[in-house]
């Protein structure tokens, strides 16, 4: 074991010089099987690219170590430093365009891998999953499906689920004798009530753009069902205009402007951010009663305002809309992160074996649970007690488990060129600089 494993990159360039590049794969594995274990050239080393994350990386490393113990193929974790997720996407783009792409790729599913899937740069896992029902059934179906690109499975869930829900200040609600909203009408009543008490009904990190999107995603889902956005996505992927001007979309956009008029987000939301704790602090200080946000808001509050998280923070599903076609149990948000395999990998079989062995492995899953994640793995009910916040973990788990659909955040699902028009367009709708009609027009005109 004294030898450092030959890196794949070094090996390939050496092989290229020798003019045996085509033989490299078979030769190396032959060497690995016949040679002494751990000896020179024993198996390949695959690069596993993940987002740098002090909490998650050691857990991923543990899965890799467990796999490497008994495998000829060795995996090496390459955490990619980032600020806010954008740098990872850029670096991945460059890595995937190079002759030596990473072998296993951390991603956000659907839109984030659309270009790679269409360009044949990723391994289609559909047949593998179909031929191994035990493997397929070890993940929650709605989450596995939410990561599909071009109608096929390219990704295996690798960490916790992040649906969006309504967080509320239960102490404040109790003081005022209010209940979290079950219907949209309740929500409007709460808005009027809290506004009259000089408490901002909802905190909103408008400046960062994506928090606004959660409102549109949930309203469209409740009013028109998940098929509204699925239809738009299909049109867009087929190269046609999305057809954004559907009644459910326009209705939702009008409701958003109505909420703004009712001061549901206060008067100064246009200056409030999420990333620098603008909205979170507003909520934690009791100046805002509710906050529509992803599950990460829980760990965010536990981190920054532990007292508030312990005493006052509670959660509820997004309310139903009277007459809406959507299912009250449907959720939107970020289903999870996925691992995909590069089709240029020197050892696709080895990479697949890793995903099969480790991603639903109890050791790995328990580590995730201890770190506060709620993994997208089936049959976790009893094990979630090990979570630092069991009540919340169980709630999120059941919420996703019984969800008939899990709509991936639109800015992650749509091709990249839609991100900016969607973000800035919706900001303008909130600011009333754009009418709902202008918004759908602009979205249909994206090229």
């Amino acid at each position: 074991m004294g030898d450092t494993p030959l890196s794949r990159r070094t090996f390939l360039s050496a092989a290229g010089v020798a003019g045996i590049a085509g033989l490299a794969g078979p030769l190396l594995s032959a060497c690995g099987t016949s040679g002494p274990a751990g000896g020179k050239g024993g198996g390949k080393t695959l690069q596993v690219w993940v987002l740098q994350d002090a909490g998650q990386n050691p857990i991923q490393q543990a899965a890799l170590d467990d796999f490497n113990k008994s495998s000829k193929t060795k995996l090496k974790l390459v955490p990619i430093a980032t600020s806010g997720g954008a740098d990872y996407t850029d670096k991945l783009r460059i890595g995937m365009g190079s002759p030596n792409p990473p072998d296993l790729i951390f991603n956000w599913g659907t839109g984030s891998i659309q270009d790679y899937a269409q360009g044949g740069r990723l391994v289609d896992l559909s047949s593998q999953l179909a031929s191994d029902p035990t493997w397929k059934n070890s993940f929650l179906p709605s989450v596995l499906d939410a990561g599909k690109a071009a109608g096929k499975y390219y990704g295996i869930p690798l960490r916790g689920m992040q649906p969006v829900l309504v967080f509320y200040n239960k102490t404040l609600f109790a003081q005022h004798g209010q209940q979290p909203p079950a219907t949209y009408d309740d929500l409007l009543k709460l808005v009027t009530y809290f506004d009259s008490k000089k408490i901002q009904p909802f905190a909103l990190g408008h400046v960062d753009a994506w928090p606004n999107l959660m409102w549109l995603e949930y309203l469209v889902d409740r009013i028109g069902g998940p098929t509204v956005f699925q239809g738009i996505l299909q049109n867009v992927l087929a190269g046609k205009p999305g057809g954004w001007g559907q009644p459910a979309m326009l209705d939702s956009l009008r409701r958003i402007q109505d909420l703004v008029d009712r001061r549901a987000f206060g008067t100064n939301f246009a200056s409030v951010n999420y990333v620098n704790d603008g909205a979170g602090l507003l909520f934690a200080k009791g100046k805002a009663a509710m906050h529509l946000m992803g599950t990460w808001e829980m760990s965010n509050q536990v981190d920054k305002h532990p007292d508030f998280a312990k005493k006052d923070l509670s959660f509820a599903p997004f309310p139903t809309v009277a007459g809406g076609k959507g299912d009250a149990n449907s959720v939107v948000g970020n289903p999870t992160n996925y691992f995909s395999i590069s089709s240029k990998s020197a050892d696709i079989a080895g990479a697949t074996a890793f995903l099969k062995k480790e991603m639903a492995n109890p050791m790995y899953v328990d580590k995730l649970i201890k770190a506060g994640d709620v993994p997208a793995v089936s049959g976790l009910e009893s094990r979630l007690s090990a979570s630092p916040n069991p009540e919340f973990a169980k709630y999120v788990y059941q919420m996703v488990q019984k969800a008939p659909s899990f709509t991936l955040s639109w800015d992650q699902a749509l091709p990249h060129k839609f991100t900016d028009p969607l973000h800035t367009g919706l900001q303008k709708v909130f600011l009333k600089k754009m009418t709902p009609e202008q918004f759908v027009q602009a979205m249909d005109a994206v090229k």
Binding site: D90, D115, R121, A270, S271, K285, T419, T424, K428, K433
Partner: protein, 303 residues
């Protein structure tokens, strides 16, 4: 004096360096500016998402940029920032620079404190300001009501956001321009002021008739740096307002960044990059030409 000048010119001619001396600079410029610029020009005629090989699509990107309202809006925003930043920064840094040129101890101490923002990372400065501008818990909540923003919503309105960015940029870059003016003001020969004093000129007149004309070259240099530099404002705006509210402060570089690294439309982003490069070049050529900077001689001529 004339003899001395002739002598200077004479040595200048005799010792004119050979063409070989330009090689390192040309090489550096060629590799890090020339070649990338050429490649960008080629890319602007292609469609490329950053993967695989770009394929040519003729003038499609160029046609699109002409009819893209978002780009025109960003161009307008960039020009507004350019003008406002120049108007705010030039008088401030000129006055501060002249003041700081004095040799008194208090001026030395105060100006070294004043230069501090120059040493800070732009991103760190911008994040600090972003927190200060929070309408509920930041400084904006405290002073907002006194400056016409009762709910602290400064960066939530176009005027407020533009003003906030101009202030942040001025706060960070005025020290640099002050430094230029300070250096230049110290070069002005004392005898000019002595002569003016004998003629009974007041301090204000001394400033108008000696200091300002003597600083002419510096004003041009500083203005070129400011105006061309303003075309590259990016990270401050990205962090403080994220181009918002809506797209009210979205400058051309951010538009380029979004096209390139969010939409992954590298060809289109290249077109915007070229427009920016052309604007910057044209601008500095114009200023140099119309200010007579190229023909200018030393301000010490005749002394």
């Amino acid at each position: 004096m004339t003899a001395a000048r002739a002598a200077v010119e004479g040595t200048d001619r005799a010792a004119r360096p050979g063409a070989l001396w330009i090689v390192p600079a040309a090489l550096f410029f060629g590799v890090f500016a020339g070649v990338p610029l050429l490649l960008t020009a080629v890319l602007s005629f292609t469609e490329w998402n950053g993967l695989g090989t770009p394929h040519f699509n003729g003038l499609a990107n160029w046609h699109r940029v002409v009819s893209d309202d978002a780009v025109w809006e960003s161009l307008r925003v960039s020009l507004v920032f350019m003008v406002l930043c120049w108007l705010v920064q030039t008088p401030l840094s000129l006055l501060l620079g002249v003041w700081a040129a004095g040799r008194e101890l208090n001026r030395a101490v105060l100006s070294s404190i004043f230069f501090l923002p120059l040493l800070m990372s732009t991103a760190a400065v911008a994040i600090t300001w972003r927190v200060l501008l929070d309408p509920n818990f930041g400084l904006a909540a405290t002073i907002g009501p006194y400056i016409g923003f009762p709910d602290g919503n400064i960066v939530g309105s176009q005027r407020g956001a533009v003003a906030a960015i101009v202030v942040v940029i001025a706060w960070q870059f005025v020290p640099f321009h002050t430094l230029l003016y300070q250096g230049a003001a110290r070069q002005i020969p004392q005898m000019l002021y002595d002569a003016a004093l004998i003629d009974g000129a007041s301090r204000v007149r001394q400033f108008w008739h000696i200091t300002l004309p003597q600083l002419r070259n510096t004003i041009v240099t500083s203005s070129v740096l400011m105006l061309v530099g303003s075309l590259t404002y990016f990270e401050t705006i990205l962090i403080v307002t994220n181009g918002g509210p809506g797209t009210a402060t979205m400058v051309l570089p951010q538009r380029m960044y979004l096209s390139g690294f969010q939409s992954f439309q590298m060809g289109y982003a290249s077109v915007i990059a070229l427009v920016l490069a052309a604007l910057g070049t044209a601008l500095s050529l114009l200023i140099v030409r119309f200010s007579g900077f190229g023909k200018m001689h030393s301000t010490l001529e005749g002394i």
